[in-house]
Symmetry: C2
Subunit: 156 residues, 2 copies
């Protein structure tokens, strides 16, 4: 188990693209949700897969904290489990942008049903960690239920 601590922002413009250090294609879906618990299956670059259980999120200073349990699983299992999903398969390209101090902005450019949405997340070690906010960030949406990964998978 790890405790995931993160902040999330809308992204405005393309200035981040010149700083990209890596990218991967992500397809993910939610298998089930038990109120505050979610179970997600994710395929990365079509070649690896993970099963992730997340517990209840809670506001923790400016960030959101959430227990997270993640296991590598066979891609074939992930693809079969996606057929058992709730809601849609979410597709995005995740671009990695160095954030300084060893941290990374993950800029998610959604495709398919969520085309046009671009979100940036940063994972922190401590909820109160200072973060330099680049100009290309838009409004902060940490804790906004509309931008939660599960909401994006379930909303019409």
């Amino acid at each position: 188990m790890i405790l995931e601590i993160e902040r999330k922002f809308l992204v405005s413009g393309d200035a981040w693209r010149s700083q990209v250090s890596g990218a991967r294609r992500i397809r993910q879906a939610y298998l089930a949700n038990g109120g505050t618990t979610s179970v997600r299956v994710r395929v990365i670059d079509g070649s690896s897969a993970k099963l992730t259980v997340k517990g209840a999120a809670r506001a923790d200073g400016p960030a959101l904290s959430r227990p997270e349990f993640e296991y590598a699983i066979p891609v074939a299992d992930a693809l079969a489990m996606m057929e058992m999903r709730n809601g849609r398969i979410v597709e995005k390209t995740r671009y990695l942008v160095p954030a300084g101090a060893g941290r990374t902005w993950e800029v998610d450019v959604f495709t398919g049903a969520l085309e046009g949405l671009v979100l940036a997340e940063i994972e922190l070690e401590r909820p109160d960690e200072e973060v330099a906010l680049p100009d290309w960030l838009g409004r902060e949406v940490t804790g906004d239920p509309r931008y939660g990964n599960m909401a994006l998978a379930l909303e019409a």
Copy 2:
């Protein structure tokens, strides 16, 4: 992924006890359920643990078939995930009783909130496989939603 094919019965009396070839203590809970999909965490003999995703059950001849994905996980993860459960922790001792032809009756003697309930399950390779039914079996409850593992965890 495996396809789990099983039949389930109530158990009457103790005649099976003289044939027990093994036993293990099981504690399990459900993390989430997405309609037909369930996610279960199980600790066996306090020393190993599994995370199991099951898809929709469907009647298949006299048996019930269901896609199942199971992964070994650290016991510490399982115990932490149990805190995120829906419903209760189900506790039982599972006794193994040889069924012939390489198969095994799993006789589950529940304790705690379900004290008094005893169920026997057999896993089959084919839905139409012939099964010799020992005298100590009571009524068949294959497919009876009241005796599903998730129902037993969720019902008051």
